[in-house]
Symmetry: C2
Subunit: 389 residues, 2 copies
């Protein structure tokens, strides 16, 4: 009897050898980043490079890249003190070309830029880590007659949703900013991790999160447009902000309420967004008051939106009319978050002033920092526990 | 009445300026790759580099990188004739460091390696492009008592699934190879695009695709392990192939059949996998005959699997017993795909011989090429139309 002696070891060796298609010749493994209690070391093997530097999100805007030095093993490296607890990203610059850290398999994407990421653990960042029990995330294609296309959105359902077949859930509509897309709040914003953790700790009620694509000239993120394939971009010349907020009310909410077990009324709906998405948050409530009990714009304020012409003047009477509409429809929470060096801070202050002047209860949550994800993650982590209670 | 004159133009300008966090200074835009009818040009701006080369999946194994030249504008470039229609990936090497093409926003991931991609359109590759109507893809956390963890899998539901509330669907269980994870068939394998296209053309019946993580020491892909966060890896020392295939039968199939509208019997189930996943495909049917009517291993063959020791000898008697079990349980399609320069081609030939010798009807689908995604995509595109008919 002939024996088939090929072993599993050999089998797996071949599997990893071909990794699944191209051979990947590896030298001594580089550890990067290496995080200790006090410091973090970055390393890159680039034998033929003449200059290598490091740029990271812990740096102040405009700060110079951090020079790296080449050691005796031809590995470029630098050690810096740990920045304070948060999620950070960084890239290396090798002789003029920006690259992710090949030794760090974890990356995120900001628009069209990929970067390596790491986490410094601590109180502020603890909800950005994976929780032990997690909700599901789906890429959903829905029909938008308003925009005239089938479009993609991401939907988070909390742990337990699929098994608690009789429970109905509230929904947070969470909108991205300019340059972002339907995946921004999941990758850069850590929205699933934040809600998983808040729900596990009993700090937030289980809720769905709906993350549409807010660029009405796209059906989904541009990164899906492979060179050589027709682009998935809709051919529209105008920026159609109002078209998008209309589709949110007319197409997206009805889709969600008919395909998920939701609390399909104002009491079960919250809306938030950052920057352009903060504008969408306000604009939705200006044009369609009474849909949301929880209104949480971020890094935005009192400045106009209009799809017809960019020189349209937006007077205070009109804005008052809009605010009056929201006041009349009623709401439970109006929560405005902004950093004090955000370029929209003056507009946020102006909205705060107008809300006060108009007798509309609200929270103006001011932090340090500017127009950046470290704030937007923190804002979600801060207002999500206030929703649906 | 003071006018609030900030225009939408300014607003959007600021949004893109901050892109959502770090300023991205841009020079004249580089187009890369530029695809014409006959040729493809790659470009990279790397002013300070001394050598830049190109490596791509159209090259034969072991072929040298393609040298790029720097033009008067300090842009490195090279033009090559179009490879034949398919999906390809490539990277640049800048002074010893491998980088994705910064001008191409489309990338995929093979294990822990990111690469830029492009498509040469043609008959073979037409199903790898986005279809007009698409199914949804979800990341699902399910409980695996067999492995002792909550683990992630990806689930594709075809277009119409959410609206045809009474229809029941068959399920294809599609398994990745060594070095891969639950996302491999979606990114490298273009499984959603292939099924979207086949279903739209009426060539395949609407079906679910379930893509678990086949590494029983992981709860999900390693790329989610951010440096500074505890690893999500399960602490197991043994390769537990049998544990995984057991969890497929005991945990995954029951989860799918209780959470989706499936045809919950042999007639409604297919299984396929590549390389290690081809081994899992066979092993599942050896240990649990009668669960699948459609058995489609790829790039694998007659070689043993055993979790107890890697030196375990697997004799023909045992294999015959396994094949006898499959024959007795009955099946509708046994479809084995392999490339003629695949390192497992001899094992595939051996399995073909044993199936014939044992009187088991089957298809041995032999192509050119080796252990690579261009084959596995093509195999899925080829056998999916044969399922559930």
């Amino acid at each position: 009897m002939r024996k088939l002696l090929l072993s599993l070891t050999l089998y797996l060796f071949a599997g990893s050898l071909f990794a699944q298609e191209m051979v990947n010749t590896r030298r001594a493994r580089i550890v990067s980043p290496e995080i200790t209690k006090d410091s973090i070391t970055f390393r890159l093997r680039a034998e033929y490079a003449t200059t290598v530097s490091l740029t990271g999100s812990w740096q102040a805007r405009g700060e110079f890249p951090i020079a790296m030095k080449r050691d005796a093993n031809l590995v470029w490296n630098v050690t810096i003190p740990n920045p304070k607890p948060d999620l950070y990203y960084y890239t290396f610059n090798v002789d003029g070309t920006s690259v992710c850290d090949p030794a760090n398999t974890s990356t995120d994407r900001d628009g069209t830029t990929y970067r390596s990421i790491f986490l410094i653990d601590g109180d502020l960042s603890r909800h950005y880590k994976d929780a032990a029990v997690r909700g599901n995330v789906s890429a959903i294609w829905y029909d938008s007659p308003t925009i005239g296309a089938k479009r993609k959105m991401m939907v988070y359902t909390p742990a337990g949703y699929d098994d608690n077949k009789k429970a109905k859930y509230p929904v947070l509509y969470l909108l991205h900013g300019g340059g972002g897309d339907e995946e921004a709040w999941l990758s850069l914003g850590r929205a699933a991790q934040i809600l998983d953790n808040l729900i596990a700790e009993g700090k937030a009620v289980p809720m769905l999160i709906v993350m549409p694509n807010g660029n009405s000239n796209q059906i989904q993120s541009h990164i899906n447009d492979i060179p050589g394939q027709e682009a998935s971009t809709l051919m529209q010349n105008d920026i159609q902000s109002d078209l998008y907020v209309t589709s949110l009310i007319k197409d997206i909410i009805p889709y969600i309420d008919s395909h998920y077990r939701t609390i399909a009324k104002k009491e079960g709906r919250a809306i938030s967004g950052l920057s352009m998405g903060g504008g969408h948050t306000l604009r939705t409530n200006y044009l369609f008051p009474g849909y949301f009990n929880y209104i949480c714009p971020q890094s935005t304020g009192a400045h106009p939106h209009n799809q017809k012409t960019t020189s349209y003047a937006f007077d205070e009477d009109t804005l008052y009319k809009y605010l009056e509409g929201i006041k009349k429809a009623g709401y439970k929470l109006f929560w405005l978050g902004c950093g004090d060096v955000d370029p929209w801070f003056a507009e946020a202050q102006e909205l705060d002033r107008l809300l006060t002047q108009h007798g509309m209860p609200h929270t103006f949550y001011v932090t340090g920092g500017g127009h950046e994800w470290k704030n937007w993650r923190h804002y979600l982590d801060t207002f999500a526990p206030l929703l649906f209670k």
